[in-house]
C-alpha cells in the first residue's frame, strides 16, 4: 500500500501565526516533540504530530487548533510554516484533486480515500455544507468503563531502558512490507500500559542537524498483563519502512533500528502515551475494530485481553468485530493466529487490495457489505468503534459509518456526537 499512499490525504495540524502569542506552552506540552519554533513562528512537524490533542486545551489562545486537509505529498514543510504571517486558505476540492496522483494510484491505496469519498466530499462542498471532517468525530475521552491509564511516566529527557526479549517477522518473509513482532521487557521498572496505548522509542544517534533523534511512537500489541501473562513486558508490531510516501527508497530510521534488534539488546523508551483510545471493561460492551497494517497492534491487544478474560470465564458475551485491510494475505500481520480464533468469539473481515485475479477490496467496502450488522451495533449504546492505521484511511472509514447510519434511518449528527461524547469512537491514524 505504500506506493499508493501518495494519493493519501492528511489532516495537517497547523498553528495560526496571527493569533499565537509564542508562549511555548504547546512545545512544552507535546509528548512527542512535534512542535518547534524560531524567532518568528511556532510550527508543527507533520511527520511527527499524531493528533493526540494534548496541546489543544493548554494553548491559551486557541491558535493551535487548526487543521488543513492536504495531500500527503504536499504537506506544508517546517520551513514554509516558519515563514508564514497568516494561515493559508484550505485547498479547494479542485486543487486537492489536481494535487493528487493518478486515479490508478489512488485506486491502489488500500487505505487512501476512495474516489467515491472524494465525490462525496465534493458534493458536500458544492451544496455549501461544511466539508466532511472525520477527525471531529473522534473522542478525546475514554469509554466510561475503561481502566485508568498512566501516561508520560518517562519523558524524552529521562527515558527508561527496556531489554529486547523477542523479535520475529510476523508477515511472510520476503514480502515488501516486512513486519516484526518485538517483545520488550522492563525488568523491575514500573511501566504500566493498557491496550490502545502507545510507547515511544528513541533510536540511537543523531539526525542530519546533529540533534538527537526524536522518539517514534508504536502502539502496544500486548494486553495489560503482558505479552507473557504476569511478566513486565510489552509487544509491538513494527513495519520496516523501506520506501517513503512517494515510493522512493528510504531507510526509516527507527523502524529499521527496531526490526534489526537482537534479543538482549537494550532500547530507550518513553511514555506511555494515550489516555482515550482505551478498551471498555464492561463485560457486555461490543468492540468494532477497523484497521490496516500495523494499525492491527492495538486490536491484537484488545482481542487478546478479551480472549484471556473469556478463558477465565469473566466475560459476558460483548461482540468483537474486526475489519482488517492489507495488500495481500502474506503481508497481513498475525494472519495465522487470527485464523485460529473461534468464530463465535470474533467476527473477522479481511480485505485484500492486491490479491492476483481478485477484485480490490478495502475495509470500507467490507463495512458497507456488513451494513446490517454495523447498523445494529450503531444503535446499541454499548458499542465502541476503534480505527487505527494509515492516516488516509480515516475519512473513508468514518464516512462509511455515517452512510451505514443514514441508510438505517439514524441521524448521523446525533449518533456521531454521542459516539464522541461517550468515548465510543476512537481514531488513531498515522
Amino acid at each position: 500500500m505504500d506506493m499508493a499512499v501518495e494519493a493519501g490525504v492528511i489532516k495537517q495540524h497547523l498553528i495560526d501565526p496571527e493569533i499565537c502569542i509564542r508562549c511555548n506552552t504547546c512545545e512544552a506540552t507535546c509528548p512527542v516533540n512535534a512542535i518547534t519554533h524560531d524567532d518568528n513562528n511556532y510550527v508543527v512537524r507533520a511527520d511527527v504530530c499524531n493528533g493526540c490533542m494534548a496541546c489543544i486545551s493548554p494553548c491559551p489562545t486557541g491558535s493551535i487548533d487548526n487543521w488543513r486537509t492536504m495531500p500527503l505529498v504536499r504537506a506544508y514543510t517546517i520551513e514554509e510554516q516558519l515563514s508564514w504571517e497568516s494561515l493559508p486558505a484550505e485547498l479547494t476540492p479542485e486543487e486537492l484533486e489536481a494535487a493528487g496522483v493518478s486515479a490508478e494510484a489512488a485506486g491502489d491505496a488500500a487505505a487512501a480515500v476512495p474516489a467515491q469519498t472524494q465525490a462525496q466530499a465534493q458534493a458536500a462542498v458544492e451544496s455549501v455544507e461544511p466539508a466532511f471532517n472525520s477527525a471531529q468525530y473522534g473522542a478525546t475521552v475514554p469509554p466510561w468503563s475503561a481502566a485508568h491509564a498512566y501516561t508520560n511516566l518517562f519523558a524524552p529527557k529521562s527515558p527508561t531502558t527496556a531489554t529486547v526479549v523477542g523479535n520475529f517477522n510476523c508477515t511472510e518473509a520476503g514480502f515488501d512490507s516486512e513486519t516484526h513482532h518485538i517483545v520488550l521487557d522492563f525488568g523491575v521498572v514500573p511501566f504500566p500500559v493498557l491496550e490502545g496505548q502507545s510507547i515511544g522509542i528513541i533510536p540511537p544517534g543523531v539526525d542530519a542537524t546533529a540533534k538527537r533523534h526524536h522518539a517514534r511512537q508504536y502502539s502496544v500489541a500486548s494486553p495489560r498483563n503482558g505479552e507473557r501473562p504476569g511478566y513486565n513486558n510489552v509487544s509491538l508490531t513494527v513495519k520496516r519502512v523501506t520506501e517513503d510516501h512517494q515510493g522512493d527508497p528510504v531507510r526509516g530510521v527507527c523502524s529499521n533500528y527496531v526490526c534489526d534488534l537482537k534479543v538482549g539488546d537494550t532500547v530507550q523508551v518513553v511514555g506511555p502515551f494515550g489516555s482515550s483510545f482505551l478498551m471498555p471493561n464492561h463485560p457486555k460492551s461490543h468492540i468494532v475494530m477497523i484497521c490496516t497494517g500495523t494499525g492491527s497492534a492495538p486490536m491484537r491487544a484488545m482481542t487478546e485481553w478479551r480472549r484471556r478474560l473469556r478463558k477465565s470465564g469473566k466475560f459476558e458475551g460483548g461482540k468483537l468485530m474486526l475489519f482488517f485491510g492489507a495488500r495481500t494475505q502474506q503481508e497481513l500481520p498475525y494472519f495465522g493466529p487470527l485464523q485460529s480464533l473461534p468464530k463465535d468469539f470474533i467476527d473477522i473481515n479481511l480485505a485484500f487490495s492486491r490479491t492476483p485475479g481478485q477484485p480490490k477490496r478495502y475495509v470500507q467496502d467490507l463495512m458497507r457489505e456488513r451494513a446490517a450488522d454495523l447498523a445494529a451495533l450503531l444503535k446499541d449504546g454499548a458499542s465502541h468503534f476503534y480505527v487505527c492505521g494509515l492516516k488516509s484511511m480515516e475519512e473513508g472509514v468514518v464516512l462509511a459509518l455515517r452512510d451505514v447510519a443514514k441508510e438505517a434511518g439514524l441521524d448521523w449528527d446525533t449518533v456521531g456526537a454521542a459516539l464522541k461524547r461517550e468515548g465510543r469512537l476512537h481514531l488513531e491514524t498515522y
Binding site: 509564542r22 524567532d39 494534548a54 486545551s57 486557541g62 501516561t151 529527557k157
Partner: protein, 475 residues
Amino acid sequence: MSTINYSEKIPNNVNLGEDRTLQRALEGWQPNFINWWDDVGPEGSTNHEVYLRTAVSVDPQGWAQFGHVKMRDYRWGIFLNPGDANREIHFGDHKGEKAWQDVPGEHRANLRRIIVTQGDTEPASVEQQRHLGLTAPSMYDLRNLFQINVEEGRHLWAMVYLLHKHFGRDGREEAEALLQRTSGDQDNPRILGAFNEKTPDWLAFFMFTYFTDRDGKFQLAALAESAFDPLARTTKFMLTEEAHHMFVGESGVSRVLARTAQVMNELKTDDPQKVRAAGAIDLGTIQRYLNFHYSVTIDLFGADQSSNAAIFYSSGLKGRYEEGKRGDDHVLKGQTYKVLEVKDGQLVEKDVPMLNALNEVLRDDFIKDSVAGVGRWNKVLEKAGIPTRLTVPHKAFNRQIGALAGIKMSPEGRVVNDMEWAAKRDEWLPSAEDFAFVASLMGRVVEPGKFAGWISPPVMGINRQPVDFEYVRFG
C-alpha cells in the same frame, strides 16, 4: 502519581499528607490567605460562577480543565511538574553535580530572597487589579481577569509552599509577610516598583499583562533552570499558566487597536480628538501607555551590573532564559557583555564581565520577545490600512534603576535636558488628561456577546466556546 488530590484541604501533588507538620503549618497560613483574598481580591465577585481553568493534574490531559466555579471555591493548590531523579545542574560552578532537593546552607539566604521576591509579585497583581471587575468591557474579558486573579493567587501558594517546606521558621515569617505588604501601601508596599503602580483602567491592565507578566515569564523561565529542583519544578508549571496572562495582554491590545483602526477608517480620520469623540482610544494614547509600561517593566530586571546576579548564576540558583538551548560553556567566566552608560552627555556601550551583566542579558531577551509582539500588533494596523506603527521606546527611556536611572532621554534614545523633558513629557508618557479620557470610557458591559465600544470582540472564545458564551454567571 502526578494526579492532584482535590479531597485535601490544600490540593497538592507533593504528598503533603505525609508531612503532618508542614501540612499543619500551611493549613495555618490558609485562613490568612482567604482573608487576604476577601479583603483585597476581586471586588464584588463573591457569588459569581466563573468559567475557570483548573489543573487536576500536571500532565497534558489534566492541567486545563474548564468549568464554572465560584472563585472562592477555586482550589488554590501546590502543583509541581514531575521531577527527574537524575537531573543534573547544568550551569555555574556546580555544573554536572546532582540537582539539590534541599537548600544547601550557604545558599539559603539568597534562595529565600529570590523566592520571596517572586512570591511578592503574585498577590501584588491581584491587588492592583482589584477594581477592574467593575469596569470590564465584556463578560469574556471579565472571565479572563478572574482567571488571572486565581492563578496569581495559586502562584503565591507555590512560593509559600517552598518557603514553608524548605526555610523553617524564617520561611514561615516570610510567608506571613507576603500577606501583610500591600500594593501601593505607603508604609508597607510591595517589594518591586512596578507592583506598586496603579492599574487604573483596562488599557493599563492589558499593557500590564503584556509587558509585566512577560517579565514573569522570563523570571520564571530563569528560575526553572535552578539547581534547587523544587523551585525549578514549581516555576515550570507556573510558566504554563503564565501564558494565559500574556495572551490576555497581547490580544487585549490587539482588539483595542482593531477597534481604533475601524473607527479611523469609518470616519476617514487620523485626528485623535475625532477618534476620542467616537468613543475609541487614539493611537497616540496607546503609544504613551506602551512607553510607560515598557519602561517600568524593564526596570524589573534590576541593575545592569549586579554582583548578586553573578552569584545567583555561579552558585546555580538562577540560570538564563533557555539555558539548556545555549551553546556556550554555561560557566561564563572571562566573557563580556555590552551595557549602556551615559558619558559626556552621550549614550555609549561598554564591555563588562558577562556574569555581572546577567540582568541585562535577561532584559535583552525580554526586549526581543516584546518587540516581536509589538510587531504583531502592528500587523493589525497594517491589515486595516492604517500607516501608523507602534514602537518600543529606547531601552534607556524613563528608567529608574541601574546606571540609566534618572537620565532624561527621548523615546528615540536622545539625551535631553530637563527643560525639554518637562516640555515633552506628556507627548511621551500618559498625561493626567489621557488617564482621565481612558477612565471616561470604562463602563461595565457584561451581557454575553456584547462589547464596549472601545474594543473589538476576540477572534474566538475560551476553550472553543463561542464568544457569546455565558463565561460568568452572576449569583
